[in-house]
């Protein structure tokens, strides 16, 4: 029976004595189709039903453009900040032994585990003008909560583990001999790190950046509490989708969603190709 099946499926898969390929793939494909593909296809179908001219009109709405700018701008900034601190954090966790390292390592995953709404109200409580940190910044004239800065803070929170968890395992694999070689050739420690180690980490850092960025663009729960949600200033694109839905403006909501998806995929495509290039050039086989 195995042989019979092997011959029949020769075109699709390589032969194997293990059973259950048909069942497993069948379950996978039908579940994937039902839960992910049909709903997403529905979104695309809906968008194509709008018609190009009305779609462009919806896309050119100044409030939509402003919201997209806020979403992509704050996500970009937060991902950049996360790259800097995430790489330092990963370095400290991989290279140094100190009391509490294990706990810190575990804490890094907190944003994965903590529901976004909880993170949102907690960050707002801290950074509001009467909060622990907000009250310290207020006399300096710095406002965080209810401004785009607050959005960046929330996105730093949700994006941090993406950078750390992508860079950390690659850092663990770094061969110490490379560093020793650099040192024997007269490089200072700073030169070794910046010229030898960091370029090799570039692919992993880029992956972490793109994951944090993608998550930040779509983030909703942690942002809406701290953002203040003023149209044209601190209103994010996902919130505008929700507002359009509450107005029963389905075409408007669909248009924003499709634009977000197109820009996100285009940016990820660019980042992926930079990453492929840097991996060929520098990578540790990341």
């Amino acid at each position: 029976m195995t042989r019979h099946r092997t011959q029949r499926r020769w075109q699709i898969r390589q032969p194997s004595v293990l059973p259950g390929f048909g069942l497993a793939l069948g379950v996978t494909l039908s579940w994937l189709t039902l839960i992910v593909l049909i709903p997403l296809a529905g979104l695309v179908a809906r968008a194509s039903g709008i018609g190009l001219s009305s779609f462009l009109a919806l896309a050119a709405d100044p409030r939509v453009i402003a919201a997209l700018k806020v979403s992509f701008g704050t996500a970009f900034l937060a991902a950049l900040i996360n790259v800097v601190f995430g790489v330092i954090l990963a370095w400290v966790l991989v290279r140094y032994q100190f009391w509490g390292r294990r706990i810190i390592d575990a804490m890094v995953d907190l944003p994965f585990a903590l529901p976004t709404a909880v993170a949102g109200i907690a960050l707002t409580a801290i950074y509001a003008p009467n909060g622990w940190i907000g009250a310290l910044l207020e006399p300096l004239g710095l406002k965080v909560a209810f401004t785009p800065t607050g959005i960046v803070i929330a996105l730093i929170f949700v994006g941090l583990p993406f950078v750390v968890r992508t860079v950390q395992p690659i850092m663990e694999e770094i061969d110490r001999e490379v560093e020793e070689a650099a040192a024997t050739l007269g490089a200072t420690r700073f030169q070794t790190i910046s010229r030898v180690l960091l370029p090799g980490l570039a692919p992993a850092v880029l992956t972490g950046f793109s994951l944090a960025f993608a998550r930040g663009v779509g983030e909703y729960g942690s942002v809406i509490f701290i953002a203040g949600n003023r149209p044209y200033v601190s209103e994010i694109a996902p919130l505008l989708i929700v507002i359009r839905l509450e107005e029963f403006n389905y075409a408007g909501a669909t248009a924003i969603a499709v634009i977000m998806l197109i820009i996100s995929f285009a940016m990820l495509l660019v980042i992926n190709s930079i990453q492929a290039w840097s991996r060929r050039r520098y990578g540790y086989g990341a």
Partner: protein, 288 residues
Amino acid sequence: MARDADSLNVQSATTESPLARRALIGLTLVFLLLVLVLPLIAVFTEALRKGVPAFFEALGDAETFSAIRLTLIVAGIAVPLNLVFGIAASWAIAKFEFKGKAFLTTLIDLPFSVSPVISGLVFVLLFGSHSVLGPILKSYNIQILFAVPGLVLATVFVTFPFVARELIPLMQEQGTADEEAALSLGASGWQTFLYVTLPNIKWGLLYGVLLCNARAMGEFGAVSVVSGHIRGMTNTMPLQVEILYNEYNFVAAFAVATLLALLALVTLVLKTLLELRFSDAISSGRRH
């Protein structure tokens, strides 16, 4: 190695000066304190701001109770569904070589790159009263949006890749030798899976389920779009937090939030224990 260098009072060539090291550790600690630790502390202090009795009074509320119940129901349906899917997907992808495998893996990861709000929106567009399916469902009196089925669908969508992502690299590392041995000794396919594969992957499976469950219970954006916010009916715990917060009932909002924060802490502790105790039995490739 760094420690040896210290005791000899010689600077190792592959580590930073003690000063730089302390500065980096200090910087990291301050950053984590500001970004991660303070919010967690804030949840508990805000919840207890008006004392312990007020905290428990807020938790004893009937609507809060129904939100807890609904969250458990939704996660209780969504997580097992994705568990079965995750096992099926990883069996097909990790144990066999076939064309289009990389593409299939990409499709499984797709929900991770879609905004939670869009994840909810797609179901509103599919089942809403203005959609093709809407009137048909209505004529049969089937309620999907603003009801439990919609909440479950949105939750399944956002947690779709969790179990599969954890199992695929693990099962790829383990290869097919164990299963081939069992089959050659006369075990049936199901016996092989139950007695050979499942014990091999159980800790990785638990790890995936843990993360899947945390996200399922904590999901906000997607659920918010399909829920309709009917009080005491379609509000999950995170949505209840939002409603209480928007009513300026901060103690109650943070009281419900403490439950979710405790869930997150329990998840982290179990996850860390799994990583420490069974690091070989959960995939080394991925740590989240």
